[in-house]
């Protein structure tokens, strides 16, 4: 494969002459951002609670969640597939081969990352300020909102890690989404498809587009973090 072929493909992709490219980008971003948002909504309070509470089995729970950060996406995909299949326990939802199933699979992948990183961040912060917070009558669960708010810029990094995992994976969304053109085809499943068709320049071009988008989002998040931290500081 020549460099020229790749450059031509990249130019075509960004020039908009690949039909359906922007809907694919839209779907990929929509699914992944929704999954990360849901994971944040559940995972940040859960991680913070885990950081400030003490109960039997806590260590085992923490180790399990840490281990789940390494859950292979295909396994997550397979589990969601079996759950959502018409012959599975949640089949009546009719979610299989829809973006909803893809969001669910990505939440399963991102949630352990958000919980684990939040738990670590909040626990460190709490250790540092426990006495100070206690003097304000903020102990245990009552300290959680304050701790989350104070740690918000560090927590953003955890969300970015989650976004990276979700936007980069192909195994889970392929299994539960089905790679249906116009419905569930994402950047990564499109790359897998073009590779299997032997159109390597186009596959590589799509890969470059995915990298550019991820870079853009990280620049944005970094900027927000910087500006926010300065204003808050």
């Amino acid at each position: 494969m020549e460099v020229a072929g790749f450059l031509a493909a990249a130019a075509e992709i960004f020039g908009g002459s690949i039909p359906g490219f922007w809907p694919i980008v839209g779907l990929s971003l929509g699914v992944t951002l929704t999954a990360v948002a849901l994971a944040a909504l559940i995972g940040m309070p859960a991680g913070a609670l885990l950081a400030v509470s003490r109960f039997p089995g806590r260590t085992i729970l923490i180790v399990t969640i840490n281990a789940l950060m390494g859950l292979p996406p295909v396994v997550a995909g397979l589990l969601i597939f079996l759950l959502l299949s018409r012959s599975g326990p949640l089949g009546f939802f009719g979610w299989l081969f829809t973006p909803k199933a893809m969001i669910l699979a990505q939440v399963v992948l991102v949630l352990p990352i958000v919980v684990a990183l939040t738990r670590q961040t909040i626990e460190d912060l709490w250790r540092e300020y426990a006495e100070h917070l206690a003097s304000l009558d903020l102990t245990g669960i009552r300290a959680v909102p304050t701790l989350l708010w104070e740690a918000r810029f560090s927590l953003l990094t955890g969300l970015l890690a989650g976004f990276g995992r979700a936007s980069a994976e192909v195994g889970a969304v392929l299994i539960v989404g089905g790679n249906i053109v116009g419905h569930t085809r994402t950047m990564t499943t499109a790359i897998a498809l073009e590779t299997s068709k032997g159109d390597l320049p186009l596959a590589l071009g799509l890969g470059a587009a995915l990298l550019v988008l991820t870079l853009g989002l990280n620049i944005l998040a970094f900027g927000v973090g910087r500006v926010g931290a300065r204003n808050a500081g």
């Binding site: 951002l33 948002a37 969001i103 032997g198």
Partner: protein
């Protein structure tokens, strides 16, 4: 603390509200059916060509999931598709016998070709006898890449070894490489290791990373590949959209669908040959 809680909630609410509506981009048509089909029909561009014609006529949108034949039939068995459209007659008849569909209708056929490197280490290029070619590959221990994924093409390949009188279980060694992936991935692998592979002609014509691969054997009757279509039984799965599924099956096997199939060409070459009216196909 209330102050903090409110701002935290607000921040989270903004985060949740921001994503793009994942399903908002395509206007919902009257009904949508899911068709479990094979990679060969998708990769050859057949669906891209015929489905818009069907949707325009009936208002029924078709979502295609491209899998290997074995996997596509299993998708139907679990009730996750309304129609299965595959190519492995024996496996399709098993699906019927198990009661997952009421009827199988023949649709079209295409053919397989044996592709291999220009250097032709097994000396089979230009032949018309697939059995002789396979025997030569075994004798020379020339690299052969197999789908190995229970797809229709994989089942056809196994049947061809058998019809050539070769006991694959005994003959297979390092030269026989089973990769467990789709047709395109198999061709990519064959191209990279300069091996032989059995492929449907449609995928081959659309395939762009050929390297040194060329067609070695074609035109043997045993290489013909029949496609059949079945609506998934509503008796097994009450949620399947029987009316729309039947409408798709009838269109595909009727004169309009058959003409659309015949009209689909790549580089002027017809890929699929409609034969819905051929008894026993």
């Amino acid at each position: 603390m209330n102050h903090f809680t409110r701002r935290t909630l607000l921040a989270i609410a903004c985060l949740v509200a921001s994503p793009i509506g994942a399903e908002a981009q395509s206007p919902a048509p009257a009904a949508t059916i899911v068709v479990a089909s094979t990679t060969s029909t998708q990769d050859s561009g057949l669906f891209e060509y015929i489905l818009p014609i069907f949707t325009k006529k009936t208002g029924i949108a078709v979502k295609v999931i491209a899998q290997g034949t074995g996997q596509a039939l299993d998708t139907g068995r679990r009730g996750d598709a309304d129609v299965v459209f595959v190519h492995a007659k024996a496996a399709e008849e098993k699906f019927l016998a198990e009661g997952f569909s009421e009827a199988r209708r023949p649709v079209m056929y295409n053919d397989f070709v044996l592709v291999g490197p220009k250097s032709d280490p097994a000396g089979v290029a230009g032949g018309k006898d697939i059995a002789a070619a396979l025997a030569a590959i075994v004798a020379k221990k020339a690299p052969f890449v197999s789908r190995g994924d229970k797809s229709g093409t994989h089942m056809a390949e196994l049947a061809l070894w058998k019809s050539a009188g070769i006991d694959l279980a005994a003959a297979r060694a390092d030269w026989y490489r089973e990769i467990g992936q789709g047709m395109g991935a198999t061709l990519n692998t064959a191209s990279a290791m300069n091996g032989y592979a059995l492929t449907d002609r449609g995928t081959w014509l659309g395939f762009k990373n050929r390297g040194d691969l060329v067609i070695a054997v074609e035109g043997d009757r045993r290489l013909f590949n029949q496609y059949g279509v079945m609506a998934v039984s509503a008796k097994k799965f009450p949620h399947v959209k029987t009316r729309e599924a039947e409408s798709f099956v009838n269109w595909l096997t009727g004169s309009e669908g058959q003409k659309a199939i015949a009209d689909h060409k790549i580089g002027g070459e017809q890929l699929f040959f409609p034969n819905a009216d051929q008894p026993g196909a």
